[in-house]
Amino acid sequence: MTDRGKYQPLSYFQLMEVTLRELLVEKGLLTEAQVQAEVAAMRDRTPERGARVVAKAWTDAAFKQRLLENGTTACEELGLGLGTLKLVVVENTPQVHNAIVCTLCSCYPRMLLGIPPDWYKSRNYRSRMVREPRAVLAEFGLRIAEHVTIRIHDSTADMRYMVLPLRPAGTEGWSEQRLAALVSRDAMIGVAIPSLS
């Protein structure tokens, strides 16, 4: 007898996932093992991967140049396979602050940073970030000075974007590992900046 207190029937969409998966396996188009392997691979793609890239760019000027010219090949130098991801890295400076959005859906450098957060895919972020970025950033607790130019990137086609944040002052001589720990996913989207506090 089923314990009704514990069993949650599958939603229509969860049913559809099981249904599609089993049909595709029956048809020999994929295996359960492949699905599990892909789930595991995606779990391994976390923002720490991007933080490593940022820390290296902060400590190695030549790497940073290569990163800004071709984000994908530079990441591959660090052993971070990106598949077919075409990465464009945009650099924050004291005069320019970058932030990323995908108004049409939720394009994001998944192969580098993993699955994006819910808010990045939300109606409110996607609608307002292109039109009133300063107000949206303020809601994230980030106030950008009037003299700083805000550069918003709408990922509409084949490129994917990552922000190279400004290295915080007071980190001279830090190891790459220590620097990487300062870099959050939100800083690489452009809605936060790394700080020592």
Binding site: V88, P133, E146, T149, R151, I152, H153, D154, A157
Partner: protein, 94 residues
């Protein structure tokens, strides 16, 4: 398909409203910007969506727009910009 536009060139986004799968956002149509870079050539997503191969690959550009020229009521810095990837067939010389 050869790239028609150079970095820095002023371009205008076509003010067209077709049906089907389109990756040129509604808000940017009719706006004038400048080419920030040529990203390369890629199969046309409008065609890929219809299960066709999208070839020949089309030049894709990042186009930079001044926010105050996109939104009449923009309330940020006059130097704020918006950069959008747009396929060549949506662009004309401004």
């Amino acid at each position: 398909m050869a790239p028609r536009f150079k970095t820095g060139e002023k371009v205008k986004v076509m003010k067209a409203y077709p049906l089907g799968h389109v990756r040129t956002p509604f808000y940017i149509r009719g706006c004038v910007g400048e080419i920030e870079r040529l990203c390369g050539s890629f199969p046309n997503p409008e065609e890929l969506a219809q299960m066709r191969d999208g070839l020949p690959a089309q030049p894709l550009y990042r186009v930079r727009f001044r926010q105050k020229e996109v939104w009449p009521d923009y309330r940020g810095s006059p130097s704020d910009v918006l950069e959008v990837e747009i396929f060549q067939h949506w662009l004309e010389k401004a």
